[in-house]
Amino acid sequence: MTTLMFRDALRQALREEMQRDPRVFVLGEDIGRYGGAYAVTKGLLEEFGPRRVIDTPMSEGTIVGAAVGAAMVGGRPVAEIMYVDFMAYAMDQLVNQAAKIHYMFGGQINVPMVLRTQQGTGRGAGAQHSQSLEAWFTHVPGLKVIAPAIPADAKGLLKSAIRDGNPIVFLEHKGLYALKGEVPDEEYLTPIGVARVARAGDDLTLISYSRGVHVALEAADELARAGIQAEVLDLRTLKPLDIDALIASVRRTRRVVIVHEATLTGGLGAEIAARLSEALFGRLLAPVQRVAAFDVPLPANSRLEKLIVPDAARVVQAARAVLNFSPQETIS
């Protein structure tokens, strides 16, 4: 095991896959000489040269489109879009093209590409640079969506994504790049579609992903101080959802809080809540609670920004509500 920062773990994954497979290459804005806006690709240009580390013009749509085309004819592109917000320029290439090509053309071809992008709050970057848009992608059949929370998964999942053979949206969180964690020394792959128990517990389940996992863990620590043992599940893969793992945990704890940084309405939490409420109808001791960003855009003001997205205090509050829930309140 070595302690690595999240961004370094990602870079290791890219390096290893580029060394393993000459078809793997990366492309995007400012990923070469600059090393990436968040320094993930730093040094790759020097190591692999400009044919495999490609600084593109500012053209998000065609960065994604080019990745799709290259993937179709034998390449294994890993495209970087600097902020997920800019995916608004490239939804056609991702959704109407990448996600549908395998199906639309009768399975004749597939699109083995990875789209890395970065999202979330934490820098007071404002309404156009802080969104969390995973729900757009998880709604699209044909895509897989990954959002790791810790360096080890960042590495293992990125490697798996590169080998998967389907178009994959790989969501990093701007607030996690400097996070440190243990990463195995030997080569490994983290399976896509399998959730992780970030902390075991029996009193309730906190479900999250990406930076939300750390918010949940912080809340769990606080709950533990009050003698409450929360289980924290890290989805890791958002699509396909490891619903069985979620159901298994909640069947046991019978209480659940979902945490995410995307806005509440129509966030991924809605899907999870809908499924758990259905699968565990009559088994739950309290309604599923969602702690998400309030339904507003994000201010370019770090202090105000914090008021909108979930923090540990809100998660604790929701957890207490779930724990103290008395059914009489709603049965009428």
């Binding site: 053209s59 749509g61 290439q93 109407n96 083995p112």
Partner: protein, 320 residues
């Protein structure tokens, strides 16, 4: 060209008979010389991207008429298992990277194919065909620019049939020739008579040669006309009948026939033979398609994802 014309005519018949699986169908009658001229300039390893009006492109590339017709009819033997319909008929084995229903949606894909050709040095050229409507979409610009910056082996061919649905070319964009348009990307641009298959062929060959030499992309504007409406149910009320007449007088088929006879490329016998063979091929294709079983219900639910991590499948990607 004859095959394309006859296939499209038969498609309209089949459509009228209510035998198509989808309501979406766009035929290319009048534009055959572009498809033929461009595809004749291609080598086996080359790639092609195509549009919603793409039957001709695939036929010119050597597509199987029976599988095409079967696809139109939603049959199990169709190129896309009866699931893609007219707008997406595609044969990846021919390096045909897909007929696309999003105007301009495939232009980025062509850049990607060109990028991989450039990186892997597979000597393939990508022919990117699109309509005049696509020229005003943002992706056209991004793709031209990126291909130019990286000197990718892509030939951009605008099949300018004068209309994007009801919008005439003159209202779509200012009157600028393709040479001037290409100059904005420091690329060569050519305007060619899209009714003259020899002219299209020559321009496409020159562009493909340039691309193969590593000198980068070319933009070709092939000026042509669709003889029918945009799609079924479009009477083209927005067009001047005089204009239609003028263009119909320049039907690429008789133009070629006359030229071929005059130049001695073909004699009358050969022409009759070509036409007869084409007709037979299409009759056979329709018969085969009609006889084929419809797509099974299960087909609706298949192929959403490729088997994960399946290296074989990944390698099945049209390989370099």
């Amino acid at each position: 060209m004859t095959r394309i014309r006859l296939f499209e005519e038969r498609t309209l018949e089949v459509l009228m008979q209510g035998k198509l699986a989808s309501t979406m169908c766009h035929v290319s009658i009048g534009q055959e010389a572009v498809a033929a001229g461009v595809c004749m300039a291609m080598q086996p390893q080359d790639y092609l991207t195509s549009t919603h009006r793409g039957h001709g492109h695939l036929i010119a590339r050597g597509g199987d008429l029976a599988r095409m017709m079967a696809e139109l009819m939603g049959k199990a033997t169709g190129y896309c298992k009866g699931r893609g319909g007219s707008m997406h008929i595609t044969d990846m084995a021919l390096g045909h990277l897909g007929a696309n229903g999003i105007v301009g949606g495939h232009i980025g894909i062509a850049v990607g194919a060109g990028l991989w050709s450039s990186l892997s040095q597979n000597r393939a050229v990508t022919m990117c065909l699109f309509g005049d409507g696509a020229v005003t979409e943002g992706v056209f610009h991004e793709a031209m620019n990126m291909a130019a910056v990286f000197r990718l082996p892509v030939v951009f061919v605008c099949e300018n049939n004068q209309y994007a649905m009801s919008l005439p070319w003159s209202k779509s964009t200012p009157a600028v020739d393709f040479k001037t348009r290409a100059a904005a990307y420091a690329l060569p641009g050519v305007d060619v008579d899209g009714q003259d298959v020899a002219a299209v062929y020559q321009a496409a060959c020159a562009a493909a040669d340039r691309a193969r030499r590593g000198d980068g992309p070319t933009l070709i504007g092939a000026h042509t006309y669709r003889f029918f409406g945009h799609s079924r149910g479009d009477p083209s009320a927005y067009r001047d009948p005089e204009e239609e007449k003028r263009w119909r007088a320049r039907d690429p088929l008789p133009l070629f026939k006359a030229r071929a006879l005059a130049e001695g490329w073909l004699d009358e016998d050969a022409i009759v033979r070509i036409e007869t063979e084409a007709r037979q091929a299409i009759d056979a294709a329709v018969a085969a398609a009609e006889a084929a079983p419809p797509a099974a219900d299960s087909v609706a639910f298949e192929d959403v994802y490729a088997p994960s991590g399946a290296q074989q499948l990944i390698d099945k990607a049209v390989s370099a």
